[in-house]
């Protein structure tokens, strides 16, 4: 029975268990939403529709005699249309660059914040992969999973106010590992220590958030004892 003390043999394949868990990806997507939609963010860069499109820089094509409408005239119409598109596109591009010049450059997120979010993702993945255990352990796992998801939402909301790194951080693969109850307890204890250290090194509301997360993770460890 997985999550029972030291009997991991009859657990299902964690690689199969992780991604099948309903709600996991949905929650992550929900949490990520505001970050990507943040004003001025990488994905919220200027919308072409917001910019006035200048008038085309070409003269309207002269009206053709009905008898002349055909081969060469059609090519002329097409060229004119292409010129209109290019001119309009140029205007949009100019607007895009102008908006980029005006947008404030946001800082990259603190490393502690990024690492904390990564740790929460890994804890969630491991909890999802742990499908065995006694009824009592299962109850704690369900609550710990919900708590870590809440932590991750809070951290990702904060991350959304920072510039997104161009290269991804060392994010977990998304695949968790089935754990025994003792291993989960150890992981929660280590997480609490890490959160406490992050709190001590941070300032303001971020420090308080880490401190509260550390306390929560200690409750998980205590209930798994």
């Amino acid at each position: 029975m997985a999550a029972d003390e030291g009997d991991p043999d009859d657990r299902p394949d964690p690689a199969a268990a992780g991604p099948d868990t309903p709600g996991d990806n949905a929650e992550a997507a929900d949490a990520a939403g505001p970050a990507h939609a943040a004003p001025g963010g990488r994905h919220a860069a200027p919308e072409p529709a917001d910019e006035p499109v200048p008038e085309p820089a070409v003269e309207p094509a002269p009206e053709l005699p009905a008898a002349a409408a055909g081969g060469t005239s059609r090519r002329g119409v097409l060229l004119g249309a292409a010129a209109v598109v290019l001119a309009g596109g140029g205007g949009v591009g100019a607007g895009f660059l102008e908006k980029r010049r005006r947008a404030p450059i946001r800082p990259l997120p603190p490393a502690a914040l990024t690492a904390a979010a990564d740790d929460e993702r890994q804890l969630i993945a491991d909890l999802d992969a742990t499908t065995g255990g006694s009824a009592g352990v299962r109850v704690v796992i369900a609550q710990a999973r919900a708590d870590h998801a809440a932590h991750l939402r809070a951290l990702e909301a904060l991350l959304g106010s920072y510039r997104q790194p161009v290269t991804p951080t060392s994010s977990p693969s998304g695949l968790g590992t089935a754990r025994t109850a003792a291993q989960l307890r150890s992981a929660e204890t280590q997480a609490a220590v890490a959160s406490g250290r992050r709190a001590a090194a941070a300032t303001g509301s971020l420090a308080t958030l880490f401190a509260s997360i550390a306390a929560c993770e200690s409750t998980h460890a205590a209930l798994l004892t």
Partner: protein, 150 residues
């Protein structure tokens, strides 16, 4: 080197008040608890007494007069039965967790308050754990809270 700001001292005194209330509250609920829960309550009482005394001593050492405990805590009544006693234990611990979390927040904002962070973190965590353990006795599926003290 300056001492903690007035805001930090006020939060520190509030944490002491929460601990004083917890000591009083456990004395109130202890006899009403089921016999199987009394050992947990006695341990919690000892922990809160130790935290109260250490907090008073630290305030004195920092040059501040610790607030005295209230003569009574009417908001804790009534405690009609063992189930209510468990719920009161949760309330006491949640109050302590909130007070220590608030001190942590004040200390994290004040340049001279950082020395208190370790104390506040330890006390916040201790109350969060005790609250979770009491809640687990009431309803095992609702034992934890994602952000203790908030």
């Amino acid at each position: 080197m300056t001492g903690p700001s007035a805001a930090v001292v006020a939060a520190w005194q509030a944490a002491l008040s929460a601990e004083q209330q917890a000591v009083f509250g456990y004395a109130l609920l202890g006899p009403i608890l089921a016999a199987k829960d009394r050992g947990r309550a006695e341990t919690a009482t000892g922990d809160h007494e130790a935290t109260r005394d250490a907090t008073s001593a630290a305030l004195l050492a920092a040059g501040h007069s610790p607030v005295p405990p209230a003569a009574d805590y009417p908001a804790l009544y009534p405690v009609p039965d063992a189930a209510a006693a468990r719920r009161l234990a949760v309330r006491l611990e949640d109050s302590c967790a909130a007070a220590w979390r608030y001190l942590y927040e004040r200390a994290a904002a004040a340049p001279a308050g950082n020395a208190l962070r370790g104390v506040a973190q330890d006390a916040l965590t201790a109350s969060a754990v005790r609250a979770a353990q009491w809640r687990a006795l009431i309803d095992p599926s609702r034992a934890t809270t994602p952000f203790p003290g908030i």
